[in-house]
Symmetry: C2
Subunit: 285 residues, 2 copies
């Protein structure tokens, strides 16, 4: 079973929000779906989950279009910034309704999570702070039986302790029952080591899909006097540049086949820095 | 002019949310107000801004209680997770109404900020994503003429580029017209160097107020075999502890007067780590 997004485009009032997006999600992998504010991430997630319609293209689960198949759609769960349940509903009732909608619910795990995050499930959803809304949503997402779980900003508003706790529980959930998680977040550094693959979306287009291992191995920052750095980087794939007086930092991807001249330093780059450099340009397709 | 919170307590249904909170904010300083999810931060901010009432205690601006003084209250602005304007209102109209409510508005600066963050001010507030809602709110907060600006989670949902942009503009706003900013955030590390003082709230109580300089100078992690570390830390103020087999990390605050024995390493601690250690216990006053 695999989930394939095929040539999806989306326009709002003649403005292209997504342009020809093709990406596939394999079973039992943890993906990072990264993009800047306004890059089109949430639109893509809403289309995959049938909450919004594509202007063109289709989403296939096991080769079958999702729009024609309610049963297949039940295999996909989206935790998003939208609240699908009325604000007056108590958290414990959200769990119950989710159990009904998706067939089962991991009540044992949810009890453990509720205790760990000190969530009061008798509270109405709208009485919760931003952080606790995220907690209620992420517990639901980790306990439904679906095979594809999309987590859009799961740690929004969470303190550092609770973010760490969530990362631990995500790994635990995955190990107990391997399934596909697709995590979209702006706090890249602290979750990088959980991702197997990364998909970067920018200006409504997929600009990179690769394993974290490959990205980290092939990303470097080259620093030194402008002329020497530019000459060294001439045949490399330059993704970003910073100037500081006569010195420059150039961010590159790809193998360095040449010997490194004196005056020039080469340093590895973490995923967050690589992402920032790759996507720091202005918006608009 | 100074803003003093005097012995504020707050109960919800017999549960103490704030207990005897006393803290003062001096003119023209940038404060960090740090606390875990559920620590009582938002309740405190709402009381200071007259959006919620204290069970006991008072808030004084220049010695006068704020509850009796609408004019003084106008000197205080709170950017919070609550949306005070109808979702159907366009962003540009939120700016206009804020200008009317607070007397003036820095239109030149807001134009610069709108361009930098690529915010479409013709959009209705509810059409904005979480990140762009934060952007619309923080632009308003940086452009009203108030002397005390509370920013509750200003970077909620912002990507890393935009978070950096905001930190830069906060400094610029402060330098152009020094005023008091009180910033509440869960992303402590990336903003530490902007804070002059830090206030830490935990379980509804103020547990620390100090300058960042003092906290960083006096905070250390002591690592090594359990017995030696415990004996070394005996007369120090221990704020947290981690065990890893026979080895322990003990986090302490205060000056180290003794010589450091062999086997033991002492390393400085950053503000986020210090905060995590100080507040990692269970909730409940």
């Amino acid at each position: 079973m695999s989930l394939v997004v095929e040539q999806i485009s989306k326009k709002y009032q003649d403005k292209a929000v997504l342009a020809d997006v093709t990406v596939s999600f394999e079973p039992q992998k943890i993906y990072g779906l990264l993009g800047r504010n306004g890059a089109g991430k949430s639109t893509l997630l809403n289309i995959i989950n049938n909450r919004s319609f594509a202007s063109a293209g289709q989403v296939l689960l096991d080769g079958k279009p999702l729009t024609e198949n309610e049963k297949e759609l039940n295999q996909i769960y989206l935790m998003s910034e939208d609240n699908l349940f009325p604000g007056s509903m108590k958290v414990k009732d959200i769990f119950k309704i989710s159990a009904g909608l998706y067939g089962t619910f991991d009540w044992e795990f949810s009890t453990e999570l509720v205790a760990a995050f000190e969530l009061d499930t008798n509270l109405k959803f709208r009485k919760l702070s931003t952080g606790y809304r995220s907690i209620a949503k992420l517990i639901t997402a980790l306990c439904v039986p679906c095979d594809y779980i999309f987590l859009d900003e799961p740690v929004l508003g969470l303190d550092a302790n609770y973010r760490d706790l969530f990362y631990g529980y995500l790994v635990e959930a995955y190990e107990k029952r391997p399934r596909t998680f697709i995590v979209s977040t702006h706090l890249i550094e602290e979750i990088t080591n959980l991702f197997e693959e990364v998909i970067i979306i920018d200006h409504g287009k997929i600009v990179l899909t690769d394993t974290v291992e490959n990205i980290l191995r092939e990303s470097n920052m080259i620093s030194g006097p402008r002329e020497q750095v530019e000459s060294f980087a001439e045949h490399l794939n330059v993704v970003g540049k910073e100037e500081l007086g006569g010195l420059v930092n150039v961010y590159v991807s790809g193998e360095l086949h040449q010997a490194i001249p004196e005056n020039i330093t080469v340093a590895p780059v973490n995923l967050q820095t690589y992402f920032i450099q790759l996507t720091k340009g202005k918006k608009g397709i």
